[in-house]
């Protein structure tokens, strides 16, 4: 079994011996199709007889009401937002993800802390500081980075849920209108992800392809991962 590893000090008060489950992370910018892929992977894994648990940002029962409220009011400053999201992440990691891994589940995580760092850094937060905040984070078994370009994202938005305030980074006004702001903001995020892909060793997946092709690619990679043991 693989040794439990953290990016920094982990949880010094809680010695975690072994985690038989697998933590699989799907990363990538807004609208790249992460949640669709997670649904597909979930059905496939369950069909194979694995227990699956999924999680995503802002789903902690502790911080969700507060974060939702703050988001509606647009009252959060950047460090406050950054740490509020870190709280959400820590709560889910300790109370959902780790217990599920202990019980041998496949945990499919829709984004991990990398997305939080990307958004923070684009907003001017110190990159080294943000990385150290996540010294308690568990190293996933695999991180798949669904990589795309702005042009492709725009088509997905136009034919999907449309442009929205947060996904366009309007809180930092990258431009004076939603469309231009979206393009500037998303390209900055992609730049951050590209940098982290190298730094943290993500497996990059070309997300400009059809849903089914991406799914088959992911499935193949995950199968290989299980065979490693």
């Amino acid at each position: 079994m693989k040794k439990v590893q953290f990016y920094g000090a982990g949880f010094p008060y809680d010695s975690i011996k072994d985690l038989p489950g697998k933590l699989i992370v799907l990363e990538g910018t807004d609208g790249v199709g992460r949640s669709t892929q997670i649904q597909l992977l979930r059905s496939w894994l369950e069909d194979e007889g694995y227990a699956v648990s999924d999680t995503g940002l802002r789903r902690s029962p502790m911080t969700q009401p507060g974060l939702d409220k703050a988001k509606t009011g647009h009252t959060l400053s950047r460090l406050t937002t950054s740490l509020f999201y870190a709280t959400d992440f820590a709560d889910r990691l300790e109370n959902q993800i780790i217990p599920a891994l202990k019980a041998g589940f496949y945990v499919l995580s829709d984004r991990y802390f990398y997305s939080i760092i990307a958004r923070d850094v684009v907003r001017g937060v110190n990159p080294a500081w943000a990385r150290k905040v996540y010294g308690f984070a568990l190293r996933p078994d695999a991180v798949f980075y669904l990589k795309t370009d702005v042009e492709h994202l725009v088509t997905r938005m136009v034919h999907g849920r449309g442009f929205n305030y947060w996904e366009a980074g309007m809180d930092i006004r990258c431009a004076d209108n939603l469309y231009d702001s979206f393009c500037v903001y998303q390209s900055q995020l992609i730049q951050q992800f590209d940098q982290m892909a190298e730094e943290y060793g993500f497996t990059t997946i070309d997300a400009c392809r059809p849903i089914k092709t991406i799914f088959e690619d992911l499935r193949g990679q995950i199968k290989a991962l299980s065979k490693e043991e």
């Binding site: 008060y13 809680d14 500081w129």
Partner: protein, 255 residues
């Protein structure tokens, strides 16, 4: 870890365990500075409106782990820092803080988080111009707290650590750990010790002396409704003339 205060204002912090008497002292200090015409702002630990509902929920339901507790407290502090303390310091105000990052360093480490990790969380905040640490023996603090309150709260007593099923015993064990952390920080951060068992007046005299040293030659933001009650120091005169000049400018601007 923390950088020197680069801002125009001054930052004065009181630290100490529950029942050390620091809040009484900072309250007296606040009023004293106000009457001297100094622009002063008071900020206390755990007071962000934004984070309040989350803290309340998590405390009520006992949802915290040491890490999430530490992070939520840091979120609370960040909100106060970005929206209150930083603007005030930039404006040239004397900011008085009842607890600061050191409270987190003491409590969170007493709860078992990594000391270096928690120090990084707060590294965006500067080192105060003065940190006054009110030290009291554990027995004195326990006596003060238990006589003043009906019941010690769950997290205050460190019940989440499972040190003891008895709240008072747990409180004692937890507070002792915090005292140990504070004691270690005295030299790490150059804190000034004040004996919290002395009379309130005697401590206040010492506190005022310490603050006078910090404010020596300080030219902060003038107070708009300025009245001298306690003698005129040089800084006070300076502030007054600056205020007058500003008023004059404002009048001219109106014309």
């Amino acid at each position: 870890m923390l950088q020197q205060n680069p801002y125009r204002g001054k930052l004065i912090v009181v630290e100490g365990i529950d029942g050390s008497g620091k809040s009484t002292q900072i309250d007296l200090l606040y009023k004293w500075l106000q009457t001297r015409g100094i622009s002063v702002y008071f900020s206390e630990w755990n007071s962000s409106e934004l984070v309040k509902s989350t803290t309340r929920l998590a405390k009520k339901e006992h949802m915290f782990t040491p890490t999430s507790f530490s992070l939520l407290q840091a979120t609370d502090f960040a909100d106060r820092w970005e929206n209150h303390i930083l603007p005030m310091l930039k404006a040239g105000v004397v900011v008085l803080a009842d607890r600061y990052a050191f409270t987190a360093f003491a409590r969170d480490v007493a709860r078992g988080v990594d000391p270096t990790w928690v120090r990084n969380l707060y590294s965006f905040a500067p080192l105060p111009d003065k940190v006054i640490y009110f030290r009291v023996p554990l027995d004195v603090a326990v006596e003060r707290i238990t006589s003043a309150r009906a019941r010690i709260k769950y997290y205050e007593a460190g019940m989440d650590l499972g040190l003891s099923d008895d709240r008072i015993t747990s409180f004692r064990l937890f507070q002792q750990r915090i005292i140990d952390e504070y004691d270690g920080m005295v030299s790490e951060y150059g804190m000034t010790l004040v004996d919290g068992t002395q009379s309130v007046e005697k401590q206040q005299k010492r506190v005022r002396e310490l603050v006078k040293q910090v404010l020596k030659g300080f030219e902060g933001l003038p107070h708009p409704r300025f009245r001298v009650r306690l003698g005129k120091s040089k800084a006070v005169k300076q502030a007054k003339s600056e205020a007058a000049a500003l008023d004059k400018n404002a009048e001219m601007g109106d014309g």
